[in-house]
């Protein structure tokens, strides 16, 4: 069942738009993530699709039929909540059966569906317990089973993993994704965690400031960010955003320190250049002209994350080989050898500069924007 969002908007009071002009197409059987920082309106959008919050403007279509004003139960969807929303006075079985009973399914079918759903989430031995006797992860599974047991093919999820501890969250990510594939569900998944979106979704919608910033596959979003917000929101460690100005015909100077050769001339203006920490290189200590000073050193195991300051004081993050030793106060010589993204002063992407200095070990799998 596909879903079509057509210029959806939500305003609680006149001209106070919580969401504006949200347009997207969600394919049947797709895992669609809505990502954004707190307060960007992503939960509001999900509740508008569910029918829990009325839509102010625009049109919603589910499976080709207009659903803008349908009550929630006629939209044929289920919802999994961040807080699970289990009924504390019902057993696991009754919690899972709740929706089916409300929809007056025949008793035999309810039993079949509930048994199957509980089995799918591996809760058979807990089926007679109350939610208070379950761990956080098990409660989460009950909430999932409730969605699975329903015959609805669309499942809306509102940050379902954010109350779990880090290890369980990673495990549940895979399980969720597998379940979704197995059952052929269309999932709309709201999260503030970019890693969750990147690892699970077929398509990602990035919301910020009440508007869509970009819609695309995880690879698209990572490799071709539409603006500085998307660029800095996705990827750990975060992309460096450096002020830049045109200093020669085909050259930008970043933070008065680094030079970036351009494939084509740019009109003279202020620009912002985004470079991921992995796209910067370090000359061996003692070589080259020092242009950055180390402020903090973080060991991440496979690499070292250095927070440094360029000679003009602009902070910059870069990664280094864990075998090398860096101390706070060391001077480094930094250069650009990976992809760099040129944004105009408003943050809209202009084009991408592909990696300058080629390393055998680094691939630059990306196309020119």
């Amino acid at each position: 069942m596909s879903i079509e969002l057509n210029a959806l908007g939500k305003a609680y009071t006149a001209d106070n738009w919580v969401l504006q002009n949200v347009t997207a197409h969600i394919e049947s059987g797709e895992f669609f993530a809505i990502v954004g920082p707190s307060g960007c309106g992503k939960s509001t959008l999900l509740r508008m699709i569910a029918g829990l919050i009325p839509i102010s403007t625009g049109e919603l279509q589910i499976d080709g039929k207009v659903a803008t004003d349908l009550p929630p139960k006629d939209r044929q969807l289920t919802m999994v909540f961040q807080s699970y929303a289990l009924f504390p006075f019902l057993s696991v079985t009754d919690n899972v059966a709740f929706g089916l009973k409300a929809r007056k399914f025949p008793a035999k079918e309810i039993e079949e569906r509930v048994t199957k759903a509980i089995k799918l989430v591996n809760l058979e031995e807990f089926k007679d317990r109350r939610p208070r006797d379950l761990s956080g992860g098990q409660r989460q599974r009950v909430a999932l089973a409730r969605a699975i047991a329903s015959d609805a093919k669309i499942c809306l999820m509102d940050e379902p993993l954010s109350n779990l501890d880090a290890q369980l969250r990673i495990k549940m990510r895979t399980e969720l994704r597998n379940l979704q594939q197995e059952l052929g569900l269309t999932v709309i998944y709201v999260t503030h965690d970019q890693v969750e979106a990147m690892t699970m979704a077929d398509h990602i919608m990035v919301l910020h400031d009440h508007k869509i910033q970009q819609i695309g596959t995880p690879l698209d979003i990572y490799n071709r960010p539409a603006n500085t917000f998307v660029a800095s929101f996705f990827g750990t460690p975060r992309m460096n955003l450096l002020p830049a100005r045109v200093t020669a015909d085909r050259e930008l100077t970043l933070a008065d320190t680094l030079k970036l050769a351009l494939p084509k001339p740019l009109p003279v203006a202020d620009y912002i250049v985004g470079i991921r920490p992995t796209s910067l290189y370090l000359l061996p200590q003692g070589e080259g002209e020092p242009n950055a000073q180390v402020k903090t050193v973080e060991y991440l195991g496979a690499q070292i994350l250095l927070e440094a300051e360029l000679s003009d004081g602009t902070p910059i993050e870069l990664t280094a080989d864990p075998d090398d030793v860096y101390r706070t106060g060391d001077w480094l010589s930094v250069g650009v050898d990976g992809n760099a993204y040129v944004f105009d002063h408003a943050g809209e992407v202009q084009f991408m500069v592909e990696g300058g200095r080629q390393h055998a070990s680094r691939s630059h799998a990306s196309a020119q924007a």
Binding site: L52, P72, K73, M79, Y84, A85, F87, F89, G99, R139
Partner: protein, 272 residues
């Protein structure tokens, strides 16, 4: 913190003294209910003529059983009505949004500031107009709902996580279904509390039934007890005391059964 021995002894001493002050009259009352009236009149409290004769007399010679039945009918009806109407009222104040909702709620709260005694005269005039005097209805109808009950249940319903309402909306539950299948079970502890409270309050009514009932057929226990004393010139104190003990028993049962439900933690696990 470890208490020193003297400290501990002192604390227990204070507790024992307070316990004696509070429980003393009850024990004395129960003890005298076992003594013949002659001994009570003489003041020989440590008599050996202990028997349940007073209880037998009370049941056989007075209308105490009728009083008990009357009070039971009145209290159960009041309790059931208050549970129903207070929960419906509270539901509206929490889950329905309508114009003037908060204002209406404050009006209801404001009625709590008026003591019942201040309303006795207009209420009496009303029930007399309605021809309800000396009937069960006169002791039930004015107490069908209570501002306190609405207030208490509203607070309790507000604790229900909004996600439960949303989950119910997605499954298509209407207000009646949500009220019956989610709200009431979720707030059952508060409902038990309100039930016990309204039962006891009704059971212990004195002023209102005294004004509105004139015959043993409808008179509840508290007024019945008073009746025992004035009926005869010679007061059979042993029997009156035995009747008082009988009257207290339902109260104790309600509190004893009730406390089983008044424990926390029954609603854990709805949301994290």
């Amino acid at each position: 913190m470890m208490l020193t021995k003297t400290h501990k002894t002192l604390r227990y001493l204070v507790l024992v003294i307070m316990a004696i002050i509070i429980i003393g009259p009850f024990i004395l009352g129960f003890w005298t209910s076992l003594l013949p009236t002659a001994d009570i009149a003489k003041g020989t409290l440590f008599s050996t003529h202990i028997s349940f004769q007073n209880y037998v007399d009370a049941v056989q010679q007075t209308a105490i059983m009728r009083y008990l039945l009357n009070s039971f009918v009145i209290s159960v009806l009041t309790m059931a009505a208050q549970l129903l109407f207070c929960s419906l009222g509270a539901y509206a104040f929490v889950f329905l949004s309508f114009k003037g909702r908060d204002f209406l709620f404050y009006v209801i709260l404001a009625t709590m500031m008026l003591p019942f005694e201040a309303e006795v005269i207009p209420n009496f005039a009303t029930v007399r107009q309605l021809n309800l005097l000396n009937h069960y209805a006169v002791m039930v109808v004015p107490f069908l709902t209570s501002a306190f009950g609405i207030f208490m249940l509203r607070q309790s319903f507000r604790q229900i996580p909004p996600e439960l309402k949303e989950a119910a909306d997605v499954e298509g539950l209407n207000h009646w279904q949500f009220y019956w299948r989610v709200t009431l079970p979720y707030a059952r502890i508060s409902l038990f509390t309100l039930a016990a409270y309204s039962f006891l309050e009704s059971w212990n009514q004195y002023l209102w039934p005294m004004l509105t009932t004139f015959s043993d057929k409808f008179r509840p226990v508290q007024d019945g007890l008073r009746q025992l004393q004035s009926q005869e010139t010679f007061n059979n104190w042993g029997m009156i005391q035995a009747s008082a003990v009988i009257v207290v028993i339902p109260t104790l049962i309600v509190l004893f059964v009730g406390q089983h439900y008044f424990k926390d933690g029954l609603n854990e696990g709805a949301t994290k």
